[in-house]
């Protein structure tokens, strides 16, 4: 009843994650060069779009790169000829930590070579090849499969944040029944997203607060937990006579079971019978 009564006090607000959280996200650029191939137009832009959707990375596609470095960027990428040192230098100018380079050539079929180059040391972290007939379309599932093979698994883990505030200081915050500290909490709690969570806030003498909420990726859900004082007429359950009767009975039950087994069974057997059924 109380949960229902105070459900209205939950004030969830979804906003973009704060700047601190944003700063932790790795930035990557997806660039493309073609060797006389016009098939799969906009492939790198499409790849960037899927990466933004599937990961929490900050992704620059070819269009974003042109906006930052001008239209010359395509010429620079082509001149690199896939050399990691050169591609890494472009990544440095784009201020990203990795460059995904999509190279397309044609040998009968279209050959798509995708490489991940780390900007810091110009190292190729991973390289994949894919061939497809000219005119074919790469399905979204196939593209997603390529991306999942290309990028580390951790990149596909996305996060959101839960910010919990309360009108009471020193109230215990539980997220999914796990203690997360006392109010006011130092900052928002990072959780995997999208995900569902149960928030409980409690303090002796006040009515517990409880709420179920869903956290979308890269967003912060704010929970304002209002804890009103418990009305004085209400007797806490642990002062009820039946509560302690049940506790005492349970203790005696456990002791009795153990004693009963010890007394009646005696020596522990060293083997047990086995039967096969089919």
């Amino acid at each position: 009843m109380r949960k229902l009564l105070f459900a209205a006090i939950l004030l969830p607000s979804v906003a973009s994650a704060g700047s601190a959280a944003h700063a932790r996200r790795r930035a990557i650029a997806v660039l493309e060069f073609r060797q006389g191939v016009s098939a799969f137009p906009g492939f790198a832009d499409r790849m960037a779009k899927r990466l933004r959707h599937l990961t929490g990375l900050r992704v620059l596609g070819p269009t974003d790169a042109r906006q930052r470095l001008g239209d010359q960027v395509d010429k620079f990428v082509a001149e690199c000829q896939g050399q990691p040192r050169c591609v890494g230098a472009i990544g440095r100018r784009l201020r990203v930590s990795e460059v995904i380079l999509v190279g397309m050539s044609s040998l009968g079929d279209v050959v798509i070579q995708i490489s991940r180059v780390r900007v810091r040391d110009r190292r190729v972290l991973r390289s994949l090849g894919h061939t497809a007939p000219v005119g074919a379309r790469l399905s979204r599932a196939k593209l997603d499969g390529l991306l999942r093979r290309l990028m580390p698994r951790r990149d596909f883990i996305r996060y959101g944040f839960i910010r919990i505030r309360s009108n009471r200081r020193g109230a215990l915050v539980l997220l999914n029944d796990k203690k997360r500290g006392l109010t006011p909490l130092p900052g928002p709690i990072r959780v995997r997203a999208p995900s569902a969570h149960r928030v409980r806030v409690k303090k002796p003498g006040y009515v517990d607060f409880s709420a179920d909420l869903r956290v979308p990726p890269d967003a912060t859900v704010t929970v304002n937990a209002v804890l009103p004082p418990i009305p004085k007429a209400v007797t806490p359950f642990y002062k009820k006579w039946w509560f302690w009767t049940v506790i005492a009975s349970s203790v005696v039950t456990v002791v009795g079971v153990t004693t009963g087994i010890m007394l009646t069974v005696g020596k522990k057997p060293e083997s047990v019978p086995a039967v096969i059924r089919w």
């Binding site: 499969g145 093979r149 005492a248 039950t253 009646t264 060293e270 047990v272 019978p273 096969i276 059924r277």
Partner: protein
């Protein structure tokens, strides 16, 4: 401490009188419960195949069952054996010791102690007071052979071609199973299936051994050549020499229902072939890839092959080391809980151990031309290469050695002259007017081995080259254009490790060269045919073999 709370409210004193009554009731129930507690038990529920053909319990030769309990190190702690009568639906198999064990093995035997049924469950904990229910898959110890448009299935306990098991159909027209492997729990058999014309349509197919039906499919973008599964079933590695890559499959994830595409990781390697799995002394899962091995029929004398061994860590797939050799290696093998790789090194005629931490190779034993290798417990089985000194009088033999790791001297367990083949000069279905030129094998090479559980049988893939010189034959007068005939044949062979006898032979691809030219019309005539197509010009080349619950 409780009492003041219980009595603090005088208005509730009357209610508290109920407490003693409740306590007495509870105690009475407890005494009853304790008295009824009985000794624990173990119930093993068999997971049996759906069809009579695959179900080992329908085999009328079954005479007894043994239940074997082994500890974590594989040492046998207890064996219970009881007789079996067909028609039984329950088998009381004695007492099992209380404690934690590494493995429970159930084996069904014939009256001649042939293994007819096999199943394992692990690990298990038998408690004194609790009832334990175990589900155990029980299967026939089949050998699976890859190389054609279906996976052939052989009951290694049968000796006659009449007892043919239905093959596993791939349901992928035009595709060939290049390699097979089984999961250690016996529930699945894996087949790497490809088409060199359309490599992008290749797959790793996972079949349920209970029904021989497809359970999982992992797309591959290349035509595969080889397949290995780790000892614990966690990893599978598919290698493709033409595509210069290997694919590592996380089998836990695949069998757990993860999207198959997400369970694989490709690593680019030049000329990879066989993979073997080890665990480093630090507990790290490693795979060793044999690259550029000797070809099946490549002799040492004229070989220019240079092999290498690459060590990669799993699951990341990082290349840790590549060791290059100045000669061609033939095969590698590994065993659980050993950080060494065993190497068949035919050109110096030895078996070596390659250390995966120091990357050093150490000779273990001298063995005559080892061409294939597997490790079963502390035993290495070695398939060899044999040539006939005089093909007119002596046939080359199937030679298999056994090397106990504690002993430096190998034992030759099988040295059986291989079967003759014939070349049909005239074939006329309407009459018996055919002339068959017989030939002895001049070269026999065992290029792949597999040992079913019990080790009383061994499955071998064998290449044989036959030679016939008919220049001095009276037939030459009638057919002067025939002088030399060479046949090349590939077979699956089931051998008895006790007697060395060839119990089964399925001849696959065989072609003839007459006067050093390929003859596309006539085929080899198997004079002592056990099984297989009589005339086979290229539809089945056995490329891989595996044994359920065996090695590999």
């Amino acid at each position: 401490m409780l009492w003041p709370l219980l009595v603090q409210d005088p208005r509730e004193t009357r209610r508290h009188r109920r407490l003693p009554v409740l306590l007495i009731g509870a105690l009475s129930l407890l005494a009853l419960g304790g008295g009824c507690k009985s000794k624990g038990s173990v119930t093993i529920s068999l997971e049996l195949p759906a069809t009579d053909e695959l179900n080992p319990m329908t085999d009328p030769r079954l005479e007894s069952f043994s239940l074997i309990v082994s500890d974590e190190d594989g040492l046998v702690q207890k064996i219970n054996t009881v007789p079996f009568t067909p028609g039984q639906r329950e088998l009381r198999i004695g007492e099992l010791p209380v404690g934690s064990f590494g493995r429970l093995t159930l084996v069904g035997y014939s009256d001649t102690n042939q293994v007819l049924a096999f199943g394992e469950a692990s690990p298990l904990s038998v408690a004194a007071w609790e009832d334990l229910f175990i589900s155990l898959p029980l299967r026939k110890p089949y050998s699976y052979i890859a190389g054609g448009e279906a996976v052939l299935v052989f009951d290694t306990t049968r000796a006659h071609s009449a007892d043919v098991v239905s093959p596993i159909e791939l349901n992928s027209p035009g595709q060939t199973a290049a390699a097979v492997a089984t999961m250690p729990d016996g529930r699945y058999v894996l087949a790497a299936v490809g088409d060199r014309e359309q490599p992008a349509s290749s797959n790793l197919l996972v079949f349920n051994t209970g029904q021989h039906s497809e359970a999982f499919r992992v797309p591959l973008n290349y035509s595969p050549d080889y397949l290995s599964v780790s000892h614990d079933g966690r990893w599978a590695i598919i290698s493709a020499t033409d595509a210069s890559r290997i694919t590592v499959v996380d089998m836990d994830q695949l069998l757990g229902g993860t999207d198959p595409v997400l369970t694989t990781r490709d690593i680019v390697f030049a000329a990879p072939r066989r993979a073997a799995f080890v665990r480093s002394p630090e507990g790290q899962d490693l795979a060793v890839i044999l690259r550029d091995p000797l070809a099946i029929n490549e002799p040492c004398e004229t070989s220019t092959t240079r092999s290498s061994l690459s060590v990669i860590d799993l699951p990341e797939g990082n290349l840790l080391n590549t060791t290059n050799f100045d000669r061609g290696l033939a095969d590698i093998a590994s065993r659980p809980d050993d950080s060494r790789i065993f190497v068949a090194d035919p050109c110096p005629a030895q078996i070596s151990a390659f250390e995966t931490d120091t990357y050093q190779t150490q000779a273990l034993a001298n063995v005559q031309v080892p061409r294939s290798l597997i490790a079963a417990g502390s035993t290495l089985w070695i398939g060899s290469w044999d040539e006939s000194a005089d093909v007119g009088t002596t046939a080359a033999r199937i030679v298999i050695y056994k090397l106990e790791l504690e002993s430096p001297t190998p034992t030759q367990v099988i040295a059986t002259p291989f079967l003759q083949e014939g070349y049909v000069l005239r074939w006329d279905d309407s009459s018996s007017s055919k002339v068959v030129l017989r030939a002895n094998p001049r070269l026999v090479s065992v290029y792949h081995l597999s040992v079913p559980p019990g080790s009383s049988r061994i499955s071998a893939l064998v290449y044989a080259q036959y030679y016939g010189d008919y220049r001095s034959n009276p037939i030459t007068d009638k057919l002067p254009n025939i002088s030399e005939v060479v046949y090349n044949s590939f077979s699956y062979v089931g051998l008895d490790t006790g007697s060395g006898e060839i119990r089964r032979r399925y001849r696959g691809l065989c072609w003839a060269e007459i006067n050093r030219m390929l003859d596309p019309v006539y085929c080899c005539e198997d004079l002592e045919l056990f099984e297989g197509p009589r005339c086979n010009l290229g539809d089945f080349l056995p490329t891989g073999a595996t044994s359920l619950f065996g090695v590999p």
